[in-house]
């Protein structure tokens, strides 16, 4: 048992920390958010140059063979800056799915490009009524010669607005919520029959709705067998989101603490009021809980697939969702009016924190998942 970072991990953390601090001032962040891409393509490129996008991949791809720990270290820093880049979506999730399911030529073609940051990929799993259920897939795929033709609609594809490739879950067999019969496809967004409706998200990112009308696409992995990989890799995404949330919570707590020390009302800093003091302690308490569970998730993210891994990742996401909401709401409450404004950076941390609970399962989803497999001894 050991919670120290290795020297390499410490360096990695500092690299990410420095990069975020240097680039992601609040003003810049709002500019990036307003840009067409919805994030900083320059920052993305720098992440590639510094090797951050390569971290989870093997050394021959310029990577580090990094696990959930390394991912957590990077995501935490991205969370501190409420950075907008689709790192989790492209590097962790798309990269992970291709590494797990792809054949050699697909890996050759795509993983190096993702690791270098040259290719930014996105993943389309959600649908209109899927509500976090990864097996709820109505989009269809029919074999046509050596490729497939996709029809349907995928929702809320973060990073889809700029992605060079989008990984799409579609059904080659089975009924709506069957785990069997789900396949994964590589869709070229510029292919015929693809329409993207691009929108901003409430946390200042961008994403798109993906409409597929007889779109030709390449199968990734075996037909009908993608569910387990999707679930497994979503677990890695959850661990990454936990890391990001901890970073964003930490900054939200720091901002609030600072406000309590400096803002005066009735002639004293408002941090002199015991009720606000204890609320602040409760926020820190939630942050501590969240940090512990983010570490747990990071340590398990790359473990072999098992019911226990899934349950603990659900426990982590549940904890993070609750903590993130508490910290978001109380940071606004303790700031008062100022945190209700678009101009105040704290408000954007709050929005990102609440939004995280809408990705890969909210509190009910994960409490149910955990309860369903509750160990009885």
């Amino acid at each position: 048992m050991d919670f120290k970072l290795t020297e390499e991990q410490q360096m990695l953390k500092e690299t990410a920390e420095r990069l975020v601090r240097d680039v992601y001032t609040f003003d810049k962040r709002m500019e990036f958010s307003d840009s067409e891409a919805g994030f900083s393509t320059a920052f993305w490129q720098q992440m590639g140059e510094l090797g951050l996008t390569a971290i989870p991949f093997p050394e021959e791809l310029g990577g580090f063979g990094g696990t959930g720990i390394e991912t957590m270290l990077i995501m935490e820093q991205l969370g501190k800056g409420i950075c907008l880049e689709p790192y989790m979506e492209s590097v962790i999730l798309a990269g992970g799915l291709i590494a797990q399911l792809g054949n050699d030529s697909q890996k050759d073609e795509l993983l190096g490009a993702i690791a270098s940051g040259e290719l930014q990929a996105a993943v389309a799993l959600d649908e209109l009524h899927s509500h976090y259920d990864l097996s709820h897939v109505t989009t269809t795929a029919k074999a046509q010669g050596s490729s497939y033709v996709l029809n349907g609609r995928k929702g809320v594809v973060i990073g889809g607005q700029t992605a060079g490739k989008i990984l799409v879950s579609a059904r080659t067999a089975g009924d709506i919520c069957d785990q069997q019969g789900i396949s994964l496809f590589l869709v070229d967004p510029s292919a015929a029959g693809v329409r993207r409706r691009v929108y901003s998200t409430v946390d200042g990112r961008k994403g798109c709705e993906l409409f597929l009308d007889n779109v030709e696409a390449e199968l990734l992995g075996n037909a009908g067998d993608a569910y387990d990989a999707i679930r497994y890799q979503s677990g890695r995404a959850i661990a990454a989101l936990c890391g990001e949330a901890v970073g964003a919570m930490r900054t939200a707590c720091d901002l609030t603490l600072d406000y309590l020390k400096t803002r005066k009302q009735f002639g004293v800093p408002i941090g002199k009021f015991q009720v606000l003091q204890h609320r602040m302690v409760d926020m820190i308490s939630e942050l501590e809980r969240a940090t512990s569970m983010a570490i747990l998730a990071a340590c398990l993210a790359d473990d072999e697939d098992s019911a226990e891994r899934s349950a603990k990742l659900s426990a982590a996401k549940f904890t993070i969702n609750r903590a993130a909401r508490y910290v978001a709401e109380q940071s606004i409450q303790l700031h008062g009016g100022i945190a209700m404004t678009w101009e105040y950076n704290g408000a954007h941390y709050a929005k990102r924190l609440v939004t995280i609970s809408h990705q890969f399962g909210d509190d009910d989803h994960h409490l149910e998942a955990y309860a369903n497999q509750l160990s009885l001894s």
Binding site: L128, H131, V156, C177, V202, M340, D364
Partner: protein, 398 residues
Amino acid sequence: MEIHFSPEQLAFRDEVREFLKQELPADIAAKVKLGKHMSKEDHERWQKILSAKGWYAPGWPVEHGGTDWGPVEKHIFDEESAAAGAPRLVPFGVNMVAPVIIKFGNEEQKRTYLPRILSGEDWWCQGYSEPGAGSDLASLKTRAVRDGDHYIVNGQKTWTTLGQHANWIFCLVRTDPEAQQQRGISFLLIDMATPGITVRPILTLDGDHEVNEVFFDDVKVPVENLVGEENKGWTCAKYLLTHERTGLAGIGASKAALRHLKRVASKQQKNGKPLIEDTLFRSQIADVEIQLMAAEMGTLRIVAAASEGGVPGSESSILKVQGTEIRQAITHLLRKALGPYALPFLPEEMEYGYDGEVLLEDYSPSLASSYFNMRKLSIFGGSNEIQKNIVSKMILEL
């Protein structure tokens, strides 16, 4: 004891219902129910309809154009209006400055301002809060210096709701800088067209423009615009704040929001079934519905006591806290109901009459925004912490 309305009260309720059914414009009700943006014209249109019926200012004395309704009738009117999707009245003229003018203003002021509020000619906004003074209202810094027949006003106000539509603002200003805290404050009425006034929008975190900053740079205000005595403005302020606190529990609005939640949860799905059939989600709806039932009973108890001449004490602060927490819990569940579709931020779809592609449902674009916007409920109008301080003081007497 009787929790049901009397036959007379039921008849009144039916009358209000019928009026709303006949007169409330469908487009306005739709906007309210779906959380779409309301224009200035929307507010004015509805206000004119109410004025024509004589129901725009129920709380005023009859001689000024009010009604003779008691607290129960007012409550019924508010409840039915919220249920029908009538917009919440912009309170700054009719329910804030007007009661102060009626109580503390001179005859000239009553003759000048009250009719223009009733007719909709004037749109008022508030000049209470300042950047440095949040809950600590009495620490305000905006100065008014007497110069002959005028005051010269300098300073800054903030959180001025819908100030962008207003042509008048009522302000608390400091007229005696030597006096301590509450003393030395005066209550001034200021024409927004006076040179030296600048209104700057504040975008709220949900991207909406509802509040503003108002800057005063050597603004000349005639002395006849002073309400009550110079340096005695705190009396008006306190009166207004008490007036403001009633109804802050927002039961009618929460009931409408809860109905909306059930509709949304019936359409949104989870595991292939309507979300409302999910045991955990349904029990969360039930929980907040029960809390709302209790708060409604609490409100009725205050209303009934008021119609017997009782003056609400700590109960209205407690209900403000309960009511805002309930409303916030409902907006949390509404956001949660959308699942991943809480993410898309679609301001264009929040405009009424949007005729492009609807991403999910007509109700969906406003739900996440509304969750964030409603965080204000526990901050403004006396934060929930301040409300608890008020109650503590009353009960502990320490």
